[in-house]
Each structure stands twice: as C-alpha cells, then as structure tokens.
C-alpha cells in the first residue's frame, strides 16, 4: 500500500518548507509567551478597545486570565491558522500537483507501482507532516511556557487545543489534496486548492468582526475549531469528529479520483 522509497523522498522534498514554517511559528509562540505579563495584557486590551474590528479579525478578542487563554487569543486566531495553511499549500504542490503538472508522475508510474500505492503514499506523507508540524509546535510551546512562566501553562488544555488544531489542519490539507488529485495544471490547483482554504480563512476573519457578517461562520471550515472554548476548558468532541470525518472523505475522494483519472503526462 505504501512505498517506503517514495516516503523517504517526500521527507527530503518537504524538509525545507517544514523547517521554515516551523521556525516562524516557533518564533511567534515564544514571543507571545514571553509577552505574557499583566502590563502588556493591559496594553493589548487597550488596543482591543481602540480598534476592536482589526483585533477581532485576527481573532484577538477577550480577556486573558491565564497563559493558555493568552496563547489562544494571540496565536490561534491568525498565526496557527495561516502558517500551517501556507505549509499545506506548498507541501501538496510538491507531493502531488508538481508531479502531475510537470509530468514527472510518469516516472513514478512507469516503475510498476500502482497509482493507488503512489497516491496513498503521498496522502500519508501529507498527514504525517502535519502531525510532525503540530507535534513540534506543541513541544516548543510547552517548553517556552515552562521556561518563561514555570507552572503557568495548563498543559492538558494546550494539548487538547493543539490536537483539535491538528484535526482542522488535516481536514484543510484534505481539501487541497483533493484539488491536486483532480486538477491537471498547477494554476487551477492554486485557484481552487489554495484559493478555497484562503477564502475560508478570510470568511473566518470577517465573521470574527461580528454583527451582520457573523453568519459567515457557518460557511467556513475554521469554525470547527472553537479555540476559545477549548482554552476555557469546554469539550469539542463533536467538532473533532466532524473534522476527522471531513478529512477522511476529502483524502478518500482524492485517492479514489486519482486512480480513475486521465493523466496528460
């Protein structure tokens, strides 16, 4: 079902974007944790009062009474959504779309590995990379919490928050993956496979600003991560199950379609 040779190759292909995105997220995480101090919190609250729309768009609303809430407000509205998304778009391009667009998929298929094996390997790579990214970020977050504010971080809630975020990002990756499996040209993939998640992301930002546009939240996948509620200790099992189900359907359809399609390679 899986080609180990190709899996190894995927590691090499995605290492650079992974390190880059991880470094950026890591930096933001450490900075945000570092800035967790009551004076600064007051300043940010002032910002929230002065320009509520802008802060709300970034998901930065509410008052942080603990480090986990602080991190949720200032990391999980924007940074932890946008940068993994960038990673997903680049990764799926490298693992699936690039092979189809350039025609080098012909090399892979001419080796006697079935389409199913090739595409399942790429799907597994995609999921594993997301797990690795979120795992690495979680470790970085826990360490910076322990180092800068020992005992302040509610590790359990932080883990739940990151697991839910992982499920969300895997579902988003599934969407891009499906588009790559259907498209023949990279520009179509960028329009739909990258455009759609970005549109969802923008809708999320706009709906955060509240009032009439709040209803937009029913049309974006990002609503399925109730980060604020998780930080406050509320469960999110239903959302997680929905996300997992979505991910399975999206990846499954991509794999199914890829095996049947014509490839102009």
């Amino acid at each position: 079902m899986i080609s180990i040779t190709l899996l190894k190759r995927d590691i090499k292909t995605c290492m650079k974007p992974f390190l880059l995105v991880f470094a950026v997220i890591c930096m933001y995480t450490v900075i945000i944790v570092y800035m967790y101090d009551p004076d600064f919190a007051e300043m940010l609250e002032e910002y929230q009062q002065k320009m509520p729309e802008v802060m709300a768009a970034m998901g930065m609303t509410g008052i942080a009474s603990s480090l986990i809430e602080w991190m949720q407000i200032y990391l999980y509205g924007f940074i932890m959504m946008l940068f993994p998304l960038i990673f997903i778009i680049v990764m799926v391009q490298k693992l699936v779309m690039g092979y189809i667009d350039s025609g080098s998929m012909a090399n892979l298929l001419a080796t006697g590995n079935s389409r199913r094996k090739i595409i399942c390997t790429q799907a597994l790579s995609t999921v594993l990379w997301m797990v690795l990214l979120m795992g690495a970020v979680t470790v970085a977050g826990i360490f910076s919490g322990m180092w800068l504010f020992p005992g302040e971080l509610n590790v359990e809630r932080y883990l739940i928050l990151n697991i839910s975020t992982l499920f969300l990002q895997i579902a988003v990756a599934g969407l891009s993956f499906l588009c790559a499996c259907v498209c023949s040209e990279a520009r179509h993939y960028y329009t739909v496979g990258a455009g759609l998640p970005l549109l969802f992301f923008l809708m999320q930002m706009i709906s955060n600003m509240g009032e009439k546009l709040e209803n937009l939240k029913y049309f974006t996948i990002y609503t399925l991560l109730p980060a604020g509620e998780i930080a406050a200790g509320k469960g999110c099992m239903i959302q997680n199950l929905v996300l997992l189900f979505l991910a399975m359907v999206l990846f499954g359809s991509g794999i199914w379609w890829f095996q049947r399609r014509d490839l102009g390679i």
Binding site: S3, T5, L6, R9, K12, T13, S102, G103, S104, A106, N107, L108, L109, A110, T111, G112, N113, S114, R115, K117, D262, L263, G264, I265
Partner: protein
C-alpha cells in the same frame, strides 16, 4: 510468436481531429516495431494509453493480455519507458535519480545501470536540471533499460544525442532484440528505424495508414514516408 502488444479499435477523441481513431495493430513478442507519423498524428496519445496514463474511450489496449489501464502496475514492472518530453526532479543528480528509480522498481543490483551509464559515457554526478539535452536523454535511456524489461516503449529516444551515441543506441536496440525484448519505437530518424525495426506503422491524423516491412524494401525510405505524411496536406488543398 505470440502478441506482446495489442490494440483493438482504440479511440480517444480530443476534439478538433486530435487523438486516435479506431486504431488497431499488434506487436509480436520479440519484435521491434517502428511507430511513425507527423507531429500531432497521435503517437504520444497511443503511448499514453499503452502506459495506462489515459483510458481509451472505446476499444481495448493490452500488453501480454493485461489491460493497459487497469493492470498498469503489473505491466510496468516488466516494461521500460522513455518519454518524449523528459521531466526530472530539479534537485537530484543523475545518479540520485537513477538510484531512486531503481529502488522504486525494486531493483536489488545496480550492475546493469552502471554498465549502461558506461556504455553511453554518462557522467551522472551533476544536477539533472543543469545537464544538456543529450545528457538528460542518456539518463532517460539508462532508466528505460536498467531493469531488463520485457517490453520497452520509446518516444523519440535519440533526440539530442550525437551520431556516435545514436549509433550505440542502435546497437543496444539490436542486442535487446536478440534477447527477445519487444520494442515499440517512435522516431523521426528514418535511418535508425530502418536499421532496427522489423515492421513499421505509419500514423496520420490518428489513423493507421500503412504497416510496412522495411527489411523487404529497397526503395528510398524518405520518399515512402513523405508519400504517407503528405497525403493529408493534399486532401486539405
């Protein structure tokens, strides 16, 4: 001899007269089969169907009795392929790429690979995207032959090669022929077709116009081909 490659009434219509229409021919086991035609005649479309990249709209396409689309993986295990437009991963060297391909093919030994590299004087150390057209072509040739395939599909195999290497390539084909390998060869270089092919099919506008046994013919090849190639132009007039 049994049939190695068999196409029966294969149609793939891309519109505007592009594609192949009701195409039927067979290549016998151990035969070197030339496949010629003007640009856009449908040669690559045929090859894509043999490789299982695209599915015929109607008709059947088989290699050793296996369906080219549904059983592509089984066929490809014993098939060599050289694409007309070679694309390689940007970041790999020639050797890295060939080893990657060999591993994907499940090769245990690299002896044949090394031997072929030597034969074509291929220096596999540089990054592929910096290689010249001819050097890339050599990488493609080594890749197509290194796993001792039973059938080989070649699309313009010698483009970019110098006359010396072209000559070595012809020798390689003749050696494979002796071993009993079945080869489908698309080429515009008539000399190499005449030297290697047992029979040659000529395709025009997606239809087969002739299958010739070239070894019987003493007549000028070029005239023969121009005769078949140009017919379409005359019809348009």
């Amino acid at each position: 001899m049994s049939d190695a490659i068999e196409l029966q009434h294969v149609t793939k219509d891309y519109g505007d007269g592009k594609g192949v229409f009701d195409l039927s021919f067979t290549v016998k086991e151990g035969e070197v089969f030339g496949y010629l035609g003007p640009n856009g005649a449908g040669k690559t479309t045929t090859i894509r169907q043999l490789m299982g990249f695209i599915r015929p709209q109607s008709g059947s396409c088989q290699i050793f009795g296996m369906d080219c689309f549904r059983q592509a993986d089984q066929i490809q295990r014993r098939n060599g392929y050289l694409a007309g437009e070679l694309t390689f991963p940007e970041d790999m060297t020639g050797r890295q790429f060939l080893k990657f391909m060999a591993d994907l093919k499940g090769l245990k030994k690299y002896a044949r690979m090394e031997e072929l590299m030597e034969r074509f004087e291929l220096d596999p150390r540089g990054k592929i995207h910096k290689m010249s057209k001819g050097t890339k072509q050599k990488v493609g040739i080594v890749n197509a032959f290194m796993h001792e395939p039973r059938t080989i599909i070649l699309d313009e195999p010698t483009s970019g090669l110098d006359p010396l290497m072209r000559n070595r390539f012809v020798k390689l084909i003749l050696e494979e022929k002796k071993k009993g390998t079945t080869i489908l060869l698309c080429s515009h270089i008539l000399e190499e077709v005449q030297k290697t092919c047992d029979r040659t099919a000529i395709l025009r506008a997606g239809k087969l116009v002739a299958v010739e046994n070239l070894s019987d013919k003493r007549q000028n090849l070029e005239e023969l081909f121009l005769h078949f190639y140009e017919e379409e132009g005359e019809e348009e007039k």
